[in-house]
């Protein structure tokens, strides 16, 4: 590779059957990457490293950090950031956008249905036990009407690109998806570091995300509250996404509140201000649903507010997202999403699922247990890359452990084939900087207020460790800016 393009950076570049975002299989640069490629190739090493260093510093002084759990208490790290943007063409994006809108619309209809009439269960499309045995199903939500019937105001859906270049959905994050602040701040850093490149590309803007989110939240206010007070509820500074909470609150110009700032009186929610109590109408909830009200859910929660759920039931306050949305991103239910789309929209799914084996099904379970070394096993209720077995990279010991766990609680696990997903060039620092391919996914953010909107872009997460397939920030992942092009 290196000699072919006359660039020392590319000496370690590997092209195999995995889809490469920048290069064609024959090593030719894809047309939409050509300008970028030329610019990077012509940058002297020192200049490149200087830009990288100044980007890192700007993340650090801005406090754009995340907290690593299970490490020394409250270790702050900057989110590793790669300088080479990931580029998506206008045509690719239109396909993704249509697919996401379709999927979110259907999942929202599903939530409305399972928490009310339950037609889809009665019609036998989805077995009732999948829904009712889901730990995220909230009986308390039965029969509760939410404004505009919108349950999922904010979604971050994870997509992968397979070897043939097509996008598939890996999972829907319908509870409290995070990461959007990295999408927004990466863009700002990129614009500062590479103004010319940026100008020559015609990248679609994403900076309006906070305004779109705000108007979505506003449109979900309880009836009769024309000038709603909207707040962002955070667990506080020790949460790994705290930076994001402050960032979004500031960008939207709304109060960032913690549970201790709120009080409920006569089923009305107030926040404590220096000028007395002020009524709250919409809560953009970044606290896990189980923790919002110690009276209704987990009694040991100190993040929540006593009586909040009653105020919600009384229709005096809106949660975004609603509670109990986790039932629709359960990893076992995921297998039924194509059926859900067909049932409610009478359409075929635009973005396909990854093939998924349900452990509750005897034959599928047998197949999985015999092929543990080839498959990926996931706990249905875990996220963030925790509770996973990646077959080809596992030890015999781990496989035995997972076999026992699956047999003890089949409902709690699903399996998927180990996916070959796309790689994108990344700048590897160190003494001898080089550009090497790393696996990437894509998390676009979908907002649902009076209509469904997808901001053109998303968070591209990178598995920075060589050969790694795990992109989660808690597990050595990083991010890069995502450019969606005008055509």
């Amino acid at each position: 590779m290196g000699t072919r393009h006359g660039s020392a950076y590319l000496r370690n570049y590997l092209l195999d059957q995995a889809f490469d975002e920048m290069f064609e299989p024959d090593g030719e640069v894809r047309p939409h990457y050509r300008v970028l490629f030329e610019i990077f190739r012509s940058l002297p090493e020192e200049e490149l490293m200087r830009l990288k260093h100044s980007a890192d510093m700007s993340f650090l002084t801005q406090g754009i950090t995340f907290t690593v759990y299970g490490n020394e208490a409250g270790t702050e790290r900057i989110f590793p950031y790669d300088m080479l943007p990931r580029i998506i063409t206008g045509a690719e994006w239109r396909h993704i956008e249509r697919g996401l809108i379709q999927r979110i619309t259907a999942l929202n209809l599903f939530l409305e249905d399972v928490y009310n009439e339950g037609r889809i269960l009665r019609d036998g499309i989805i077995p009732g036990e999948i829904v009712y045995s889901c730990p995220q199903f909230r009986r308390e939500m039965r029969g509760l009407r939410v404004p505009r019937n919108v349950y999922i105001a904010v979604t971050g859906t994870d997509l992968l690109r397979l070897n043939d270049g097509s996008f598939v959905v890996l999972e829907d994050n319908l509870r409290v998806p995070s990461g959007v602040s990295y999408m927004l701040t990466s863009r700002r850093v990129m614009k500062r570091a590479f103004p010319q490149t940026f100008r020559s590309y015609g990248v679609r803007p994403i900076e309006h995300y906070p305004q779109v989110l705000l108007s979505a939240l506003r449109s979900l206010a309880p009836e009769g509250r024309p000038e709603p007070t909207i707040v962002l509820l955070t667990p506080g500074i020790y949460n790994s996404a705290y930076f994001e909470h402050t960032y979004l609150a500031r960008q939207m110009g709304i109060e960032l509140v913690e549970g201790r700032d709120l009080v409920v009186h006569d089923n009305v929610v107030y926040m404590r201000t220096t000028a007395g109590l002020r009524r709250v109408d919409v809560i953009y909830r970044r606290v896990d649903g189980d923790f919002v009200d110690p009276l209704a859910f987990r009694a040991d929660s100190i993040l929540g507010v006593a009586g909040l759920f009653n105020a919600y039931r009384a229709g005096n306050v809106t949660f975004a997202n609603a509670l109990g949305t986790g039932v629709a991103d359960d990893k076992a239910l995921y297998a039924y999403v194509p059926a859900i789309i067909r049932y409610y929209l009478k359409e075929d799914e635009i973005l396909p699922n990854v093939e998924t084996f349900l452990m509750t099904d005897r034959t599928q379970r047998q197949h999985v247990l015999q092929n543990l070394d080839k498959l990926v096993v996931k706990a249905v209720s875990e996220s963030g890359g925790y509770g996973m077995l990646i077959g080809p990279h596992s030890t015999e010991e781990q496989r035995v452990e997972f076999r026992n766990r699956i047999e003890a609680n089949p409902r709690n696990y699903i399996a998927q084939p180990t996916l070959e997903f796309s790689r994108s060039p990344c700048l590897m620092g160190g003494k001898d900087p080089s550009i090497e391919p790393r696996h990437v996914d894509l998390r676009p953010y979908i907002l649902y207020g009076d209509k469904v909107t997808v901001v053109p872009g998303g968070l591209t997460r990178v598995a920075l460790r060589k050969g790694s397939l795990v992109v989660n920030s808690s597990q050595g992942g990083g991010s890069k800016d995502t450019w969606v092009l005008h055509d």
């Binding site: 960032l256 509140v257 700032d261 009186h265 404590r272 201000t273 220096t274 000028a275 109590l277």
Partner: protein
């Protein structure tokens, strides 16, 4: 503004002011140990500890380095400069959306600088103090020029004024006022003279004092300047004037709350500093006067909490 946010801004500001005061005390007293002095090293550092309110777990053990280390760099010791700056940043982090990026970045930079490691013995203090004071001033500048002078800013003013007034009062309190000869200007260069310079320097007051009174260091004038001067930003009176202004602005802005008692107590303190004569203070006893000022500051602090931050929900609902 959320009560919790006001609380954090208030403490952020107090911690920064405390850090600044501690930097000066250490810096000035360290340089004073370089000259021969009537004050023994032990006396001097005990006095510094007393002026800082006798931080728990800190004693003079004869080793100057270990004491300065504890007061400057020890993260575990809550009175240290590093701990104060960390606490200020922690408070700022909780209200990240209320302060602007210039302020946050400046504070964050300072935090990363002071926590990145203890400098080597010997040539550290001067560099550390200069850099820290610069950083603190930059933060102050960013606060005044780029933050809206609204409620949040007022709480920052309140925090700083209360902290400053009480720490100057505590510093004045540790000196022996009544025993010292009244006029020591004839002994210029003498050791007592150096002590007074030191005291003024700890309050960044030496140059300003000279502008008003020339370099004649006379006890009543020093006291007058540090306690009752109307224009000097580190005098107790100036701080209380600022405090009063901020409290009035707050009351006006928040409308609903009346805060009558708070207004009365702060007004009374301001009046006593405005209309007081320094000879009265000296007759009454400097120590008891400044302790009384501190006591009133504590009372104001409690009333701010009662009215704006930790009020009872029942009270708020009935208004």
């Amino acid at each position: 503004m959320l009560s919790r946010v006001a609380d954090s801004l208030y403490w952020m500001s107090r911690y920064l002011e405390r850090a600044e005061h501690t930097v000066r005390l250490l810096d000035v007293n360290f340089s004073m140990t370089l000259d021969p002095s009537s004050t023994s090293e032990e006396e001097r550092w005990k006095r510094v500890l007393a002026a800082l309110g006798r931080p728990a777990g800190l004693e003079w053990n004869g080793d100057f380095y270990s004491l300065v280390h504890a007061l400057a760099f020890d993260k575990e010791n809550p009175a240290s400069i590093t701990a104060c700056i960390s606490a200020a940043r922690e408070n700022a982090r909780q209200v990240r959306e209320e302060i602007n990026s210039e302020q946050w970045q400046q504070l964050n930079r300072m935090y990363h600088r002071v926590t990145e490691g203890t400098p080597e013995k010997g040539h550290w203090l001067d560099e550390f103090s200069t850099a820290t004071l610069n950083d603190l001033h930059l933060f102050q500048g960013a606060t005044d020029t780029s933050m809206t002078h609204g409620e949040g800013w007022q709480f920052i003013q309140i925090g700083r004024s209360i902290e400053r007034a009480t720490s100057i009062a505590a510093l004045v309190d540790v000196f022996e006022w009544d025993a010292a000869p009244e006029n020591i200007s004839e002994g210029a260069g003498s050791q007592q003279f150096l002590e007074w310079i030191g005291l003024l320097r700890c309050c960044t007051a030496f140059e300003s004092y000279c502008n008003v009174y020339t370099a004649d260091l006379v006890q009543p004038q020093i006291l007058q300047f540090l306690l009752l001067n109307k224009e000097f930003p580190h005098s107790v009176r100036y701080s209380i004037d600022q405090l009063r202004c901020a409290l009035l602005a707050l009351q006006e802005g928040s409308g609903r709350l009346v805060a009558e008692e708070l207004s009365r107590v702060a007004g009374r303190l301001q009046a006593s500093l405005t209309f007081c004569d320094i000879s009265e203070v000296m007759n009454q006893g400097v120590g008891s006067y400044v302790r009384n000022v501190s006591q009133q500051c504590r009372e104001i602090h409690s009333l701010i909490y009662r009215d704006y931050i930790k009020y009872k929900v029942q009270v708020a609902l009935s208004l």
